[in-house]
């Protein structure tokens, strides 16, 4: 029983990061039917921006709460700006063109972003200050949980909760959900569709950046190439839960995190990819709309 709970804890922690990035994929896809391949790289960008602030700019010298807040907020804002640029330059002009063209554009953006990060921040593995956060933890039964793990999961859940509250509780959030059904009908309500699309991209980027910083704080080591694998896992999670479905993306993220963790624990790390994709393919074949059903705009 012992290792199982331990793996579960790890899986849920990582899963919550995946969930954040998956939400970004799902919100955007639900509205504009586009796989923003750059989403994973946005997370990496957030991680590196956070690292730059903490290490290069010496933010780590400041009192911890202040340092952390800035290390989250600035990367989130910066990444949001980058995602908006990507939207305007690479996606908007291709919106009604072929599916393939926009797919290539998304892949190109991912290439540019990840290699741009390499160019600016360097190809080496960099490290978040390892002594920044307390390493202490506690035992729950036989399971060892660090306070950092708890904190990060709590922060992730808070962020996800805020997003859900926003999307359910505000009128603009409702407008976003409406766009995942019918664009023209939304226009006829006076909704500025372009503006709401921009909002979706901003939200996706904010979440991605936050997850990037958290990954940096959790794993300590970051590298420019992280984005690809992360994006892949997160998109798998989004599809698993049902693309466009917000609770689905959250659940999907957790599930993928758990599957990964159990595979590494019980089998071996090298089979992670195979098992994760195996799970995805099996689910899709049995239930093509994903576990919780999809929510994609029928009429654009």
């Amino acid at each position: 029983m012992g290792p199982f709970l331990q793996y579960t804890v790890i899986g849920l922690t990582v899963g919550s990061f995946y969930a954040l990035v998956a939400l970004g994929y799902t919100i955007v896809y639900g509205i504009v039917r586009l796989i923003n391949f750059a989403q994973g790289d946005l997370s990496t960008l957030g991680a590196f921006l956070g690292w730059t602030l903490l290490v290069t700019f010496g933010l780590q010298e400041l009192p911890l709460p202040l340092a952390l807040v800035i290390a989250f907020v600035i990367p989130m804002l910066g990444t949001a700006a980058v995602n908006l640029v990507i939207l305007e330059i690479a996606y908007k002009p291709l919106f009604n063109k072929s599916l393939l063209a926009i797919l290539i554009s998304a892949l190109a953006c991912s290439l540019i972003l990840s290699n741009g990060i390499e160019w600016i921040f360097g190809p080496r593995i960099e490290a978040y200050p390892p002594s920044l956060l307390p390493a202490e933890g506690m035992f729950l039964g036989t399971v060892h949980v660090t306070f950092v793990q708890i904190a990060l999961v709590v922060v992730s859940l808070l962020l996800m909760g805020t997003l859900v509250a926003f999307v359910q509780g505000t009128t603009i959030g409702t407008a976003m959900r409406a766009l995942a059904v019918d664009h023209d009908a939304a226009r006829l309500m006076g909704i500025n569709v372009n503006q709401v699309i921009r909002l979706a991209f901003v939200l996706g980027a904010l979440l991605a950046a936050a997850s990037g910083v958290m990954l940096g704080l959790y794993y300590v080591q970051i590298q420019f190439s992280n984005g690809f694998l992360l994006g892949l896992r997160a998109f798998t999670a989004a599809v698993l839960g049902g693309i466009g479905n917000i609770p689905g993306a959250m659940a999907g993220g957790m599930i993928i995190g758990l599957v990964e963790s159990y595979t590494t624990g019980y089998l071996s790390g090298k089979w992670e990819d195979v098992i994760v994709f195996g799970v995805l393919i099996t689910v899709l074949v049995i239930r093509p709309v994903g576990l919780f059903g999809e929510r994609v705009a029928e009429r654009m």
């Binding site: 896809y29 039917r33 796989i35 330059i89 690479a90 002009p93 291709l94 063109k97 072929s98 599916l99 393939l100 063209a101 797919l103 290539i104 554009s105 892949l107 190109a108 953006c109 290439l111 540019i112 290699n115 741009g116 390499e118 160019w119 690809f228 892949l232 998109f235 798998t236 599809v239 693309i243 090298k270 089979w271 990819d273 195979v274 994760v276 994709f277 195996g278 995805l280 393919i281 899709l284 074949v285 093509p288």
Partner: protein, 663 residues
């Protein structure tokens, strides 16, 4: 000239030509001299053009003599092969495949394992590599090809990654180190008439020759496929899967073919790759490779064969030329890719259908001869079909008997009853119209009859056999033709090709015959072409046969759609609002065409809103309102029927509504 300079010149030269071509093409394609010149080129058989071109490339490499330059060309050839394969999957059939590297890997590892472990000769491993790859494609494709296109993208991506990781973890295949010391391809030494013959391909130039030979075969096969019944079926699916299925193209089966065949190409390239590099490991088969191959075909122009070559040249050549910026290579590549896709979403050398005139050298027949021929052919078809029908033990429906029987059909969407217990018969040889106010369930009924939807309850019999639960292409194959509300032609195809797709169920050739373009296949193609021209003549569209479907006016497109529905000699056709959007003259022409169709003995069922047309032309009319059949009879009766009048215009209120203020 250094290798770099040569490469750069080639690249710039090709880019310049293609940009010019893109810019000037519209004007050029109007110029009859240009078309004549194109037609003249067309007369030279494709295979000789391909061989001439590739021989020129080989010559260039030989003269240049630089090993590095030659090896770059070998890489270009390899990527071109991969591009041709993916082109079938993505460019022809429109399937979003992001995991093509898997096929490359399977082919490479199969060949490498056989040559290193079992000591086979390279050339004998090739068929096996191709076979394994094809099998893998079939296994993965079968359950997943029905998924929507974006999901298919992620699933194929997953397959690519899974394959790489599996090879990485498999010790027999060398694990992360892969397979080393893969032997060169060789023709084993043997004696022929006292002369000792044998050769080992080991220099870069040797590999270029092998690679170009394989590429030549691949290109020729691809070209043959494109202009075959299979190729047309693929493009039809890509353009409009729904319409393709309804004219008899089995879409799922063809998607599987595309995925498997495309995959086999990749396997072939993989086998070649393994022996050429001499050592393979999992890092050669990453997602980046799949992306690169995708970029090759999108950049060059999906579906276009010259485009694939160009794309391969750019994707391989450009990073080589930019070697000095090696560190930022991928970044520059990404930026360049973005710029190109934004400006030229169709690719640099897009596949543009030309306007052949006259095509395939066929004679132009006079209208009277056309009509007579069609009538004779049609009658022959009918006799043959009735005979087969009887031989299979089914009853043959005579003129005047019910050819279409709708019994108690119910269709429900959630809580809404779109079709509520509708029963009627359509007799063979009559013109039967279904009318009724908007939202009455008419198109839903059509969808049930043609297999697009399955009714919740009720029976539908065509020719005495039930069609409920059958897929649309099966029903179409049984002799049912259909046109759609809002025209659904295959936009990127020429008019005559659209009609040829309609003949899909009636071909007799197999895929291998198409690949080799055998005389039998050629005859079949010409026969199909003639038939399509005849049907176009029947609807009066023969003079526009070479045009792209999108260039036609709405009414003309409708006529082509009718020709497509008639192409396979159906005995029942269903037209959904054929007169929509036509002016009075066009409607009169439509009237004449429908009568001509009935003159062939084909039963016509119409959904129509134009009352004067309906009243003029129909033998009997059924009226559907709110999903219920409220009247059935001859036009004169329907026009006077109070229930019908009320359905359309509304009832006189018993309780008068208060008059509007100020009215």
């Amino acid at each position: 000239m250094s290798a770099d300079d040569l490469l750069l010149t080639l690249l710039i030269g090709f880019l310049a030509i293609s940009l010019l071509r893109g810019l000037g093409y519209r004007r050029l394609s109007e110029d009859p001299r240009f078309t004549t010149w194109l037609n003249r080129i067309d007369r030279v058989p494709y295979w000789s053009r391909v061989i001439a071109f590739l021989a020129a490339v080989a010559l260039l490499a030989y003269i240049n003599g630089d090993d590095y330059f030659t090896s770059v060309l070998v890489s270009v050839a390899t990527y071109a092969m991969l591009g041709l394969g993916l082109n079938i999957v993505v460019g022809f059939a429109g399937l979003l495949d992001l995991g093509y590297a898997a096929f490359f890997a399977i082919g490479a590892y199969t060949s490498a394992l056989l040559t290193t472990q079992a000591h086979w000769n390279f050339f004998t491993t090739v068929p096996l590599a191709v076979l394994f790859t094809g099998t893998a494609g079939a296994i993965l494709g079968y359950p997943t090809l029905r998924l929507r296109s974006d999901y298919l993208a992620i699933v194929t991506l997953g397959f690519g990654e899974m394959t790489r990781v599996t090879f990485n973890n498999w010790d027999y295949a060398g694990g992360p180190n892969g397979i080393l010391q893969i032997p060169f391809p060789e023709i084993p030494t043997f004696s022929l008439a006292g002369v000792s013959i044998g050769y080992t391909f080991q220099s870069q130039f040797d590999f270029l020759l092998v690679g170009l030979a394989l590429l030549a075969v691949a290109m020729i096969f691809a070209q043959h496929l494109e202009h075959s019944r299979l190729g047309r079926g693929w493009i039809a699916i890509r353009e409009d899967e729904f319409a393709a299925e309804s004219v008899g193209v089995p879409s799922l089966r063809l998607k599987l073919y595309a995925y498997v065949m495309g995959g086999m190409w990749g396997g072939l390239a993989g086998a070649f790759f393994a022996t050429r590099i001499g050592a393979i490991d999992p890092t050669s088969f990453t997602f980046l490779l799949s992306v690169n191959v995708l970029i090759v075909i999108v950049l060059g122009g999906t579906g276009s064969l010259p485009g694939v070559l160009l794309g391969a040249l750019i994707v391989i050549g450009l990073p080589e030329v930019l070697r000095t910026f090696a560190d930022q290579r991928l970044l520059i590549f990404g930026i360049g890719l973005l710029v190109i896709i934004l400006r030229l979403a169709l690719g640099i050398w897009p596949r543009i259908r030309r306007k052949p005139q006259p095509y395939y050298g066929l004679e132009i027949e006079e209208p009277a001869k056309v009509a007579a021929k069609i009538l004779v052919e049609h009658q022959q078809q009918m006799v043959r079909r009735d005979a087969r029908h009887a031989a299979a033990g089914h009853r043959v429906i005579e003129e005047g008997e019910a050819i279409l029987e709708v019994q108690g059909v119910v269709q429900q969407f959630g809580g809404l009853r779109a079709v509520d217990n509708v029963t009627f018969d359509v007799k063979r040889g009559e013109i039967f119209s279904i009318i009724g106010p908007n939202g009455g369930g008419k198109t839903t009924l059509f969808n049930c009859i043609t297999g697009v939807q399955k009714p919740k309850a009720g029976k539908i019999l065509i020719d005495g056999r039930s069609v409920v639960g059958l897929r649309p292409h099966v029903i179409a194959g049984r002799g049912v033709g259909r046109t759609f509300q809002g025209i659904r032609l295959f936009k990127q195809m020429a008019v005559f090709e659209n009609v040829m797709v309609g003949l899909y169920p009636r071909h007799r050739t197999m895929t291998w015959q198409a690949l080799l373009h055998t005389p039998g296949e050629r005859k079949d193609e010409i026969r199909t072409l003639e038939e399509s021209r005849r049907w176009l003549g029947f609807v009066g569209m023969e003079h526009l046969a070479g045009r792209l479907a999108t260039e036609l006016s709405y009414a003309d497109q409708r006529r082509v759609e009718i020709a497509r529905a008639l192409a396979a000699h159906p005995h029942l056709v269903l037209f959904d609002e054929p007169a929509a959007g036509m002016n009075p003259t066009e409607k009169l022409e439509l009237d004449a065409i429908i009568r001509k169709i009935r003159g062939l003995g084909i039963t016509v069922v119409l959904i129509e809103h134009d009352m004067s047309l309906v009243m003029r032309i129909s033998d009997r009319i059924a009226v559907l309102d709110h999903g219920t059949l409220i009247a059935l009879g001859v036009p004169a009766d329907i026009q006077e029927d109070p229930a019908v009048i009320e359905a359309y215009l509304g009832r006189e209120d018993e309780i008068p509504m208060p008059r509007a203020k100020g009215a």
